[in-house]
Amino acid sequence: MRVTQSMLTNNLLSNLSSSYEKMAKLQEQVSSQKKFSKPSDNPVAAMMGMGYRTNLNQIGQYQSNIAEATNWIDSTDDAISEAVSAMQRIRELTVQASNGTYEGEQLKNVAEEIKQLKEHLITLGDTQIGGKYIFNGQDTNVRPSSVKDGNGNTVYGTGDINLEVFSGISLKINTDGSKIFGDALAAGGSIDQTIDALENGGDVSGTLAGLDATINTFLGMQAQVGARQNRIELMTDRLKQQEVFATEILSKNEDVDIEKAIMDLTTQESIHSAALSIGAKIMQPSLLDFLR
């Protein structure tokens, strides 16, 4: 093949520019830490990447939903625990009062304490987190104790509040107030009967069975809440694992292997300078230089 000066220079120029192109690509990879910056760099990886990002984002959102659910359920659990201790105190007082050792005035004091404990239970029924009444069904902005029916009973709101904690999996985060506090606080319920009996000097031992039944209701609800807490913990663990996987797969898909990229860049740089120096040598001499 006949080779001329202009071929050499054209060749050199096109080789240099392709070498620059390679360096630019590698530099971009090193500085952005990403294997690709445009879908056309790697269409499949870009498309997968979008899916992985969605995945990771969802996991993040589900984690914050779960945090909210945990908040609700833990508060519910706390409220019920406190209610149980209040009820146990009421039972204790009732047992003491039923011994027959207390005088009339003392019985009235016991009645007073039980009244206060009942008030405490009402307050527990009004438990709030972040301004939301958690035992009032979907009417979270209404104080349950402010709504009474004809008998003076608190009317708790209804309706479930569900949060999505994983794709397609919803978790009920509220607990029906009337199921927990309804019996205990009902007008003429076991607590009222006890107070009545104490105030009127009657026999209170008959109300103990009713109080026990109420305590059992509370414990039953607490067990339910506990089951939900377990479920939440399981979900939290699962989401944490998922997050690790999702981050890893996203990183594998699009993060650059930095050692490799820098090595490639260094290699490319030395190739480039070699090309430049060879170019300088090739372009110099022609026959002209030797014919004097």
Binding site: T4, Q5, P39, S40, S286, L288
Partner: protein
């Protein structure tokens, strides 16, 4: 009997021929870097020997050479390589236009990043999830409204940027069409000039080179085939005359149109004329509805090259009335997707109840201006932006503060398949999968298209470079070679001059030294 002065004439021929060859060498060196210059060679031939055959020819031992003549000055060029180069240059034009426009589109879509539509939709989804957790919280509602605005803004931005690039491409189409016509008429003019020179037996190498440069340029814009035509009645043209160029428009796979379309038309009788190229637009859609080559209107855009590449991006009206092209396609997909999403989102939103409302909401969350493109005009209902408590998060009458059922349905929409939409009958049948997967599919396809355009482009560039190398190998000036030639011809010139001196001395002997015997 041979003339006394015959040697002088032979030496003179040597001198002038060497001089001509040296001048040509000089011209080669001078044009070493001229675009499109092909090195020239002087074809040396022996002049006919003496004596010539004839009744009265003198009786001598044999024919004696009478020297040299420069028969023709020919450019060294391989028209087969030209054809190869033009095929590749045509592909470069087409793929270059495709890959440039598609990379611009990728730049606009800006995926996968944290600011593209996918990321904005993620934020919108997050805000809806946040709403399910804090239904009565006005902050959470504000976030839904403002991320909704972000989604609308992103789509508006896509529409605006895509259409403005599309307009730029449209302008480029006109520029390119306006480049083609002068090229065609210049080639025609060169044909004319050549037709005036060649019949006299001359070889207009400079005009050939100029014409080939123009044809190279034209080949990048549309696919062409060059036929050399030497008209039957063409004077005393030389054997190495290139003749006139008939330039025919070709289809991308290399076949002729039926009947053939000639951009520059030449036949055996001479030059016939040229075709003017004109791009026409559809009045209602503004899309290209045909390219006129002379009297023939083409609507298949199969002539490849940069012009066809640009039209394929800008958009064109197909014969069945639909619109094709990369940009209209993308806009249409965005529109279909947006319309479907907005309709369904609004339908679900209207089923729900705003905070404290006993009647189902009548508000559209997103609004689209009728008659305008969905991506162009989508915005969040201004009432909702003003008062986010109107977002219908509840699914039951009364709009209880903890009722988040409708908000959950709204959040689920992003992952819901288009085929499960309650409003699916209003949607384009082309929609598949969910909003998420459809959109990432669009981006994937854009990536594949753009990548293949870039690969085709770099392949064509590699091939064109290699063909160009071959062309250079044949036609470009090598300074070493010219130096060698220079020395060769200079020495020949010197030798001829010495010959002349020798003849002079011989004649001197005859004239001044003879007839003095015995003196």
């Amino acid at each position: 009997m041979i003339s006394t002065f015959m040697g002088l004439e032979t030496a003179k021929r040597g001198l002038s021929t060497s001089q001509g060859a040296l001048y040509t060498t000089g011209n080669n060196v001078a044009n070493a870097n001229t675009l499109g210059y092909s090195r020239q060679r002087v074809n040396l031939v022996q002049t006919s020997g003496f004596p010539t055959v004839g009744l009265n020819s003198p009786r001598v031992a044999g024919q004696i050479g009478t020297g040299v003549a420069a028969e023709t000055v020919q450019r060294i060029r391989d028209s087969f390589l030209d054809a190869q180069f033009r095929t590749q240059s045509n592909k470069i034009g087409f793929c270059g236009a495709m890959s440039e426009s598609l990379s611009k589109m990728e730049g606009i879509m800006n995926e996968p990043t944290d600011s593209g539509l996918a990321a904005t939709m993620e934020k919108f989804w997050n805000s809806l999830q946040g709403l399910t957790a804090n239904t009565e919280n006005s902050g959470a509602r504000e976030v839904v409204a403002s991320t909704g605005v972000m989604v609308a803004d992103t789509l508006n931005y896509y529409y605006k940027s895509l259409t403005s690039v599309q307009t730029d491409i449209g302008d480029q189409i006109n520029v390119k069409a306006n480049e083609i016509n002068p090229l065609i008429s210049s080639i025609d003019q060169l044909n004319q000039q050549i037709s005036k020179v060649e019949p006299h037996g001359y070889i207009p190498n400079d005009l050939y080179d100029k014409r080939d440069v123009l044809v190279d340029q034209l080949s990048q814009l549309v696919s062409i085939k060059v036929n050399n035509v030497i008209p039957t009645d063409y004077g005393r043209s030389s054997d190495v005359a290139a003749g006139l160029y008939n330039i025919e428009l070709m289809q991308e796979e290399g076949s002729s149109y039926v009947p053939p379309i000639n951009l520059v038309s030449v036949n055996q009788t001479g030059m016939v004329g040229t075709s003017k190229v004109e791009v026409s637009y559809d009045k209602t859609t503004g899309m290209v509805d045909g390219v006129k080559f002379g009297s023939k209107t083409m609507t298949d855009y199969k002539f490849s090259g940069e012009l066809s590449g640009l039209i394929n991006n800008f958009g064109y009206k197909k014969d069945d009335g639909t619109i094709g092209g990369a940009y209209p396609d993308m806009l249409k997909k965005l529109d279909n997707m947006t319309t479907a999403f907005v309709n369904e989102f609004n339908a679900i939103h209207k089923q729900g109840y705003a905070l404290g409302d006993s009647d189902a909401s009548t508000l559209d969350f997103f609004e689209i201006e009728p008659g305008k493109s969905a991506a162009q005009s989508i915005k969040v209902n201004s009432e909702i932006v003003k008062d986010p408590s109107k977002i219908a998060a509840g699914a039951k009458s009364g709009g209880a503060s903890g009722d988040n059922e409708n908000a959950k349905l709204l959040a689920d929409l992003k992952k819901k398949a288009f085929s499960e939409y309650s409003t699916k009958d209003q949607n384009s049948k082309e929609l598949t999968g969910s909003f998420d997967t459809y959109y990432s599919g669009i981006i994937g396809k854009l990536g594949v298209d753009s990548q293949s355009a870039q690969k085709n482009l770099s392949n064509s560039v590699v091939l064109a470079t290699s063909v160009n190398q071959n062309r250079d190998s044949v036609s470009s000036v090598s300074l070493d070679e010219e130096m060698t030639d220079m020395i060769r011809f200079q020495q020949a010139y010197n030798a001829s001059a010495r010959m002349m001196t020798m003849m002079d001395e011989m004649l001197d002997k005859i004239i001044n030294g003879m007839g003095t015997v015995g003196r």
